[in-house]
């Protein structure tokens, strides 16, 4: 099971990112443990300044904007 975290202060783009990740994982049949991280200290702890960001198993895979669906599906197909 992959541990996925969405980094963001709760703006519209962050919510859109959460949805894209949720849907893409479902479509790929991937089991994920999805969590929203809104605490600034924790977000900055990953070195990310431009939100929304996405962290998979402790590794930042995306930052600054809503990732496109294809890219997100790529994360779960491996």
């Amino acid at each position: 099971m992959k541990e996925v975290k969405i980094l963001g202060s709760g703006c519209a783009n962050c919510k859109a990112t959460y949805k894209v990740v949720e849907e893409a994982a479902k479509a790929q049949g991937a089991q994920i443990d999805l969590e929203k991280v809104e605490d600034l200290g924790r977000i900055m702890g990953y070195g990310v300044m431009s939100t929304p960001g996405v962290v998979i198993d402790g590794q930042v895979v995306h930052a600054g904007g809503v990732p496109d669906r294809k890219t997100v599906e790529g994360w779960f197909s491996r």
Binding site: G8, S9, G10, C11, A12, N13, C14, L40, G41, I43, M44, G45, Y46, G47, V48, M49, S50, T51, Q59, V60, V61, A63, G64, G65, V66, P67, D68, K70, T71
Partner: protein, 318 residues
Amino acid sequence: MFETLGDLVVYRLLGIDPASHLGAALHFFVMDTAKIFFMLVIIIYVMGLFRALLSPERVRAYVRGKPTWAARSTAVGLGAVTPFCSCSSVPLFIGFVEAGIPLGVTFSFLIASPMINEVAVVILLGILGWELTLMYVAAGLTVAYVGGVVMERFRPERWVEPYVWQIHMGELKMPEPDTSLAGRHRYAVGEVREILRRLWKWVLLGIGVGALFHGYVPEDWVVKHLGGTENWLAVPGAVLLGIPLYSNATGVIPVAEAMLGKGVAIGTTLAFMMSIAALSLPEMIILRKVILWPGLALYAGVLAIAFILVGYGFNLLA
């Protein structure tokens, strides 16, 4: 091309009289909507293809540890070319502070970024011509540079929320961006989608306001009250009016176009554009998470005065 489209839709298809207020407003709306969205798609795509992935994280690494003047110039320049979502301004601020970048330099970045962006610049070029575009960019860079210097004089450190100093930032371990042509194409298409999704409402709203202005506001009234240098209240009035209006530089361009077309003085128009793009109330409220009210009031004050000076300056030059 866009003029013809406007003629076709409004006068032929809808059969509205070109001499009427409604006709003039609708024509402006149809023409500008087509023109601006056409340009937006092309410009964002091309920029996406060629822009090396300049994230704020990278900007921070560039600016960090440079002498102040060099750091500030870099911050202003990078601020002008890196777009960021306004909800990122708080983490961005903290990230800069944590890297030991002086607060004044951070403010310069925060001013430059919304005020100048590549999309706005290219649309300005397309609609208002290169002279005005150059003036706007030069004025924007100057305000960002000088604004940060002035802020620094007031020792703004005391107005930073205490928790900001305690955050420790991790090193970013991001995978290298895909720089193949296919990868850049995907990135560019994503940019077009995301930026349009974020902007379309504001752009339409801007065109709508511009169209109403174009169609319904009588020209003599405008020239008399907002035209020349006689009415010195016009510039501060434009800046004040811009504060509660939340938009970005792209959305204001059609409004500016209509204002100039009706004879509003150039400095007044520029001051209004800057005020809307860089001095919005929602942005202030977001920044309140990291800066106390006195600091924000100073920030707003410095910007307002700078915009007013820019406005007077250009009105005198014109």
